[in-house]
């Protein structure tokens, strides 16, 4: 009896233990998670900074001083490069470890390891675009430069010094929620991080969609729907600029290649990932100093994509924004120069049709030869399940992404991916040198080493130089090469040459007194090389340039105002024709009210206004009705750009594309404008009753800074901010300026201002979590405290931590 009772109670205790120690249905293990000593209770912080004044770390060579200002930006003072990057790694990990690791698990296609089978398709897609393959080749390149490798190794060691000091109690909350633990950092991971940036910024392409559209619509309609250029473009390099170098010629293949169509294409990065940058020289400013403004429009996320800091050691004193996972400062300033980046859109991803010799897929056709493939077996570990295996075949172009195991429609299509990100280059060396650059020549030397993701590097120096350089590794292409699927069997379809860096686009000290870039076309047709991209931006750049032309006596505050400019250029070019085409005689009172408010609107997307929402809802319906021929197609297509839609609306109102499918009448633009007006107002009324509030622009747009895992309590929703897509203040629902900075460079003094929608800390239990968001939304900036030496005092410094070698 007693034994039975003991066994029974032991069993109950064991069952309780089992269920409290196990993650069930994605929920954290309750016992572990709720234990006051080490569970979530340990992740709350009363003070934003609760650091020891003295800290000892194994691996440091000498003493390092870290000062914190009121925004908790660290200012790191070290006596050598090693300690500098070691400490950068350490403090970044202290604030952002989980984010650093998780984003790379996603890049490496390893999310299934933590969240289980539902992420398997995502992971397979990630491995098939070869990010890890590219990272390995990058690391080989990093090893060729002593400085770069040393900096990267020190950064890695710093992160690991932090990881080593952790136990379950001190893990960031996300590890506890998902029930896994950090693994050691490696140099390869930082390389993978750069590949992740290439993925987000240089993998937009529409080769297969274009191929489908060309087959479906024919050449004439295709060019009408997707023109490469329009009359009134304002490229990065001012129109009319001439080039005096001898361009490399490539041979265009003769003959016709019957391209297959593709039903479904792989997921693509968001084309809204972009940026603005503008620089004005002394002739345009109030005090004769040079001003540089830069902002990166990326997905708005918490923890933030940027980590702001100052790095000071012999030979370097730089301030700016870094990216958790990458050593050095990515965009910032030192006492002689300031630099920034915007995404330089250019098609650097091409797809090649591959013909295998037989089912074994060991050889593929190339001219009159058969080349050998290489196969890599990939194991996908799955939480709570058995591993999944996938074999990826590699050709000399790159991985065969589409094949019989992945989106290949049986055995019908095999496409290999060719992408500059697969080829080895060391971008960290560029930033290493930029951080230390002191003039234009240094800037050119540093950016010469940079391959991707292609960026428009903007530049300003205290000696008065301004410039923008469109830089990256760009293949020399024949007309339309890579705009459609290429034939992998034909060597003339190869990238036959790379544009020498010295022939890349650059503009320095133009007469206009300013340079700018905002993801638009890089250059006009005077440039001897073919440039193409499927996703150029058409609006922000023209607004910026219009303003800069008009502005004079510019002060830093004017640059900030322009960064926060809410002028809706799209509406300016589309709304007049929409309003003029509206039959106002049949409007009822509330419709008339909406019409009148649009008539009176000054095109500013201010957060409190209802009018921008009316325009947007109307436009969305009009766009949808116009391109109804793209719906219900059984191949993947991309819809024409907003810019081209407006162009067609204004210039070809009787185009056959305005005729709606499935109606007995023949519609033109005027009909669709009228129909969409009512439909747009209806959708707004539905929105209003669904949400129980007025559709003020910021409510309707609903800008949110979401936690990476989309956990609501860790996110900020419905932020009161204006702007929108294609507006200089490019704040849309989930995208926007992720770091804004304005730098003033004078011979005697350099000053900077910056803000970003987030916080240095990535801990949702820290009172400062997301604390800069409200200032960012209001367009406010914080002065960037640029210290000359560790001894310099400043009333914004609130804490000093001294780190010594153990």
């Amino acid at each position: 009896m007693k034994i039975v009772r003991f066994v029974f109670s032991l069993l109950i205790t064991a069952i309780i233990f089992y269920f409290l120690n196990k993650s069930i249905d994605g929920k954290p293990p309750i016992g572990k998670f709720i234990n006051p000593y080490s569970g979530f209770w340990q992740n709350g912080q009363k003070e934003a900074l609760n650091l020891e004044e003295e800290l000892k770390l194994k691996g440091l060579e000498e003493k390092v001083v870290v000062k914190f200002d009121e925004q908790y930006f660290p200012h790191i003072f070290a006596n050598n490069d090693h300690d500098l990057y070691f400490t950068q790694g350490y403090v970044t990990a202290r604030d952002r470890l989980w984010q650093m690791e998780f984003q790379l698990l996603a890049a490496a296609g390893r999310v299934s390891e933590i969240i289980g089978k539902k992420a398997l398709d995502f992971d397979r897609g990630r491995r098939r675009i070869g990010l890890l393959y590219g990272a390995q080749r990058m690391l080989e390149k990093v090893k060729e430069s002593e400085e770069s490798l040393k900096a990267l190794q020190a950064y890695t060691d710093g992160i690991n010094a932090y990881i080593k000091g952790l136990d379950y109690a001190s893990y960031p909350i996300e590890y506890k929620l998902l029930d896994y633990k950090p693994e050691p950092w490696k140099n390869l991971k930082s390389c993978l991080f750069l590949k992740l940036m290439e993925n987000d910024l240089s993998r937009f392409e529409a080769d297969l969609e274009n191929t489908n559209a060309l087959k479906l619509f024919g050449r004439e309609d295709f060019d009408f729907l997707f023109p490469e250029r329009h009359p009134n473009l304002d490229p990065v390099i001012p129109n009319g600029t001439t080039w005096d170098f001898e361009p490399i010629e490539v041979e265009k293949p003769e003959g016709y290649f019957e391209r297959p169509s593709t039903e479904k294409t792989i997921e693509k990065p968001d084309p809204r990932n972009g940026s603005n940058s503008f620089v004005v020289d002394g002739s345009k400013t109030a005090n004769g100093k040079v001003l540089l403004a830069n902002e990166m429009d990326l997905q708005l996320r918490l923890p933030s994509v940027w980590y702001v800091l100052q790095l000071h050691a012999p030979g370097i004193n730089v301030f700016g924004s870094s990216m958790p996972g990458a050593p050095g400062v990515i965009a910032g300033f030192n006492d002689s120069i300031a630099w920034g980046e915007t995404n330089a859109k250019r098609d650097v991803v091409d797809w090649y049709y591959v013909e295998f010799k037989n089912e074994k897929r060991e050889e593929y056709k190339y001219d009159d030869k058969w080349l050998k493939t290489q196969k890599i077996a990939e194991e996908f570990k799955i939480k709570g399940g058995e591993s999944y295996y996938d074999t990826i075949v590699y050709t000399h172009y790159g991985p065969v992404t589409y094949d019989r195991n992945f989106m290949g429609d049986g055995d019908r299509i095999n496409y290999a991916m060719k992408w500059t990100a697969h080829e080895g280059s060391d971008e960290y060396l560029t930033f290493y040198e930029l951080n230390r650059a002191s003039n234009y020549d240094d800037f050119v030397r540093a950016t010469d080493k940079y391959d991707g993701p292609p960026q428009n590097f903007s530049f300003a120096s205290s000696s008065g130089d301004i410039a923008v350089r469109v830089n990256g590794k760009f293949p020399v292409k024949w007309q339309e090469q890579g705009k459609f699927l290429l034939d992998g069997r034909n060597s003339l379809h190869e990238w036959q040459a790379i544009i020498p860096k010295s022939q890349n686009l650059v503009v320095r000290n133009p007469e206009s007194g300013f340079v700018s870039s905002a993801n638009q076309h890089p250059v006009d047709l005077n440039y001897p090389y073919y440039t193409f991209d499927a996703y150029y931006e058409y609006f922000r750049n023209r607004r910026i340039n219009d303003r800069l032309k008009a502005m004079d006596n510019i002060r830093p505050a004017d640059m900030m105002r322009l960064q926060n400019d809410n002028y809706n250029y799209r509406a300016l070019e589309s709304l007049p024709v929409m309003l003029d085409s509206l039959d106002t005689t049949s409007l009822n009172n509330s419709q008339l009210k909406a019409y009148m408010s649009l008539r009176k609107w000054d095109y500013f997307n201010q957060p409190d206004l209802l009018t921008p929402s009316i325009y947007q809802a109307w436009w969305d319906e009009l766009y949808r009705l116009t391109w109804d021929e793209f719906d219900d197609q059984d191949v993947e297509l991309m819809k024409p750009s907003v810019y081209n839609t407006i162009y067609i609306l204004n210039n070809y109102p009787d185009s056959k594309f305005f005729d709606r499918k499935g109606t007995s009448t023949v519609e033109n633009a005027r009909d669709l404008i009228n129909q969409s007006f009512y439909a747009g107002l209806d959708s707004l009324e539905a929105w209003k009753s669904r949400n129980g509030k007025e559709y003020a622009w910021y409510e309707y747009k609903n800008t949110s800074v979401n936690h990476i895992l989309d956990l609501k309590p860790f996110s900020r929703e419905t932020i009161k901010v204006g702007g929108g897509k294609n507006i200089v203040n490019a704040t849309s629902a989930r995208h926007g300026p992720s770091w804004r900075m304005v730098i003033e460079l004078g011979k005697d003094k350099v000053q900077g201002w910056g803000v970003y929608p987030g916080s240095q800390t990535g801990n949702p239990g820290n009172p400062a979590y997301g604390h800069l968001i409200d200032s960012w939304a209001k367009g406010e900036y914080f002065p960037l405290i640029f210290l000359k030496s560790p001894e310099e005092t400043h009333n914004s410094l609130i804490f000093t931590q001294t780190i010594s070698p153990k």
Binding site: F6, T13, G31, K32, I34, Y37, K46, P764
Partner: protein
Amino acid sequence: MIFITRLILISITCYLAGAIMPWWVIIVCSMVVSFLLPGHNFNSFLSGFLGVGLLWMVLAWKFDMESGSNMSSKMTQLFKIDDPIILILATGLIGGIVGGFSAFTGNSLRQIFIKKKKPSFYS
């Protein structure tokens, strides 16, 4: 008296061991203490329940106060609970249940080795 002693001993051992060991150390402590200080079944369950439960509740409350409820307020939203107080009570309850059954188990094991006194012939 032995009830109070056992309860306090469970609390103290869990308090000390918990600071350095994983959460399940409360199972070990409750079992061992009740094995060494046996008593009635319900009695030992209760000392485990209250010993661990009260300890976890007080600790959760203490850490929550020290952190200004900055994390617990987010957890209540995440798990759709109204008030951090409920989280503190739940922490105590879960600790209590684990402690109670562990103590009961430890006691049951001890009972196997204790011969029940035979009723005296004269009584």
